[in-house]
Symmetry: C2
Subunit: 396 residues, 2 copies
DNA sequence: CCAACTTTCTCCACACTCAGGACAAAGATG
DNA sequence: CATCTTTGTCCTGAGTGTGGAGAAAGTTGG
């Protein structure tokens, strides 16, 4: 199949493509109602899009009391690849033009193995998805990496947890391998985009998306757009100091949020509690290598283990304290909490909420929902697909 | 004189008005180079603006090697009123259309005297400026109040330090009295706008403007636009907790930044040091009522008083700690520090910088200037004029 | 089965926008 | 004084977009 070559020629066309992406197939008449254009002008633009092959007319819709309308939809063969590289695993998914996930693979892998090894794995997974018949090729790909990115160039910069990636031309390299346009972003920003597109943050203009996985980061959305900061490191809240002379952090400082609570810190604390005999529940869950994960802590808490509950509560207080500050500063309309620790669920959420509602000003918290993300591992890959589709569905 | 009645009819006209405002008088040819429009189209739009009276052609400019150009400038009679209501004083200024301050008055007054009394004073000051011949009337006014504002309506909401103002229709009332359009915003946002227009933040897209006066607030500028948050309380950093069980704050919580450092807290600490005999320098500066101000502390520090220096240093550390967190989160291109405490100058700046550069990530601080505002009390009124002119210089 | 009404879509005439070139005006230069 | 440069105006032609007329295709009720 010939891949997507054309791009919208003007903002009207871009607008139409996004409407079709977000609202599904539609008739010319209904599109006309949404884009404040005359029927005639709209017909012209739709015809031009039909000529480019970006959209197709397939069949007639049911009548709504008059002549039946032609269904206009995005080309059904369009495929986007969404890649989410986490600290300890890789997610890859294929979507159609409406960004619905058609297939999704996950593979545990440490980013610290470096860009070359990770890329090989990503390409293998992409090939597997293609082989399964879900795609004959990709029209675009979005990829998230767990660290700051110089966005225009698509290159990671000074990533603390991913040595070896600094300056690696992710966009360039992946584009070469896949033969399609690629956009690169921070994994946290993509999670925010995903939740905005298909999750809890639909129709919210300004919100924060806190991702607690191996580390902690925060996606910032302002007026519906991801805010990336001057050097692309906005949202890097893992190294905010929460304890003047606290624990040593990998970044070289002491008392960073991430050192006190995160997937990694929680696992370490739980292992410690298990070995020192403070929790039989946790001890029973130690694996062969003497390791625990956030999931084990969640299970122990569900079984009523007070030590596990304490760990979660204390962690929630730490994050909540930081989020309370951010809420005062940013005054968001919504706070989403996601990442690996969502398994800790409402125990975590409860302590976060307590801190925020107690510490931040009533005006900022009065109507502020604090909720868990609803897309789980799909958020990142959906956000990645959204990133590239936003890029391709804008005037060239 | 007839006041400004017309508004730009389209974005081109709005663009031209702003160019003339920010770049001063200009020829048609030079304007054409700046707004990607053909000479003919530009001539048409300029002619239409001339017809409305918003701009005038006055005289010929010097030749640049060919035919001399006609100078196009904003109507010289346009006048904006900028009002900055602080916690303890009121600033009022008149500007021309280029936002140059033509006259500026200051009057000490406590906002807690309520909106009616404050308004009376503002109107008196405006009348005095008018009587001095600087303006025959006002084409628009901007006003800043020390608390959150529901921006579209121009109404203060739940202002902690200004009881009695909650819900008072500031925009409506002032517009009625002055007979011209009015826009209302938080005083901190206006300071940010002022520094962006004519101060240290020119040509910076994303920056923070921390105002330390009686309280502490922070103006947030994203992509050149002030970010106000979902309910208009964005930037309210005075009540971020900096000490788990710290001092009691007026807001009802404990350990708020504002309770530990701000103009008010610093004065209290200084008075305490003076009375308990810890600082002779400060004791010597006590006024009849046993009061001190930030200026006294600055003077004592300049005289080498170690207690005063300690107070400044400790305060700077507190604010620096919070700013460090905000820098990690927001990744600004510039941090401006202003407000009443700028008199503390480089002693304060030094401790803020130390905290930020030590605690925030290198990627965020690498190229980050932290500077004092350069406009002083003019920042707020300039920002106020800018606010209303931005409003009036946009398509109706 | 037919008349009346709806909804969808196409076609066409007209207005408006805007670019670019020709040209006039006004000055500099040698 | 001839030539060049810069500025500003006028005009034509291409393209953009609106709104109305009307054809196409359906529903509804008698």
């Amino acid at each position: 199949m010939r891949r997507m070559t054309a791009r919208p020629a003007n903002t009207h066309q871009a607008r139409l493509l996004r409407l079709l992406r977000d609202g599904g197939p539609n008739s010319r008449a209904q599109l006309g109602d949404q884009v404040d254009l005359s029927r005639s002008k709209l017909a012209v633009e739709v015809d031009r899009l039909l000529e480019t092959g970006l959209v197709v007319a397939d069949g007639l819709a049911a009548s709504r009391g008059g002549r039946r309308s032609h269904n206009i939809r995005l080309a059904p063969g369009l495929r986007f690849l969404g890649v989410d590289i986490g600290a300890t695993s890789i997610d890859v998914a294929v979507t159609n033009a409406e960004l619905e996930v058609l297939g999704h693979l996950n593979h545990p892998m440490d980013v610290r193995e470096g860009p070359v090894a990770v890329f090989e794995q990503v390409l293998t997974m992409a090939a597997k998805l293609r082989a399964s018949g879900l795609a004959e090729g990709f029209d675009g790909a979005g990829i998230g990496v767990p660290g700051p990115v110089r966005f225009p160039e698509g290159v990671p910069v000074a990533p603390p947890i991913m040595p070896g990636w600094d300056g690696f031309p992710v966009r360039e390299a992946l584009s070469q391998e896949l033969g399609c346009p690629v956009m690169v972003d921070n994994d946290v920003n993509l999670m925010a985009l995903g939740e905005q597109h298909a999750g809890v943050a639909r129709s919210v203009g300004d919100f924060l998306c806190v991702k607690i996985g191996t580390g902690i980061g925060c996606g910032i959305v302002v007026g519906g757009e991801v805010y990336r900061g001057t050097t692309g490191s906005a949202g890097d809240i893992g190294h905010i100091q929460v304890e003047p002379d606290g624990r040593a952090c990998a970044c070289g400082n002491r008392g960073c949020l991430e050192a006190h609570f995160s997937g990694a810190a929680l696992a370490r604390d739980a292992e410690d509690a298990a070995r020192t005999g403070r929790s039989a529940e946790l001890a029973a869950r130690l694996d062969g290598a003497g390791k625990l994960s956030a999931i084990d802590v969640a299970a122990a808490a569900a079984a009523g283990d007070p030590t596990a509950l304490d760990l979660i509560r204390e962690g929630g207080n730490r994050v909540g304290q930081v989020i309370a500050g951010l809420v005062s500063f940013f005054n968001p309309g919504l706070v989403v909490i996601g990442g690996g620790v969502t398994g800790l669920g409402h125990n975590l959420l409860a302590s976060v909420r307590t801190q925020v509602y107690r510490q931040s000003l009533p005006l900022a918290t009065g109507n502020l929902p604090i909720v868990l993300g609803e897309l789980g591992p799909v958020a990142g890959v959906t956000g990645a697909a959204r990133l590239i589709s936003d890029h391709l569905f804008s005037p060239a």
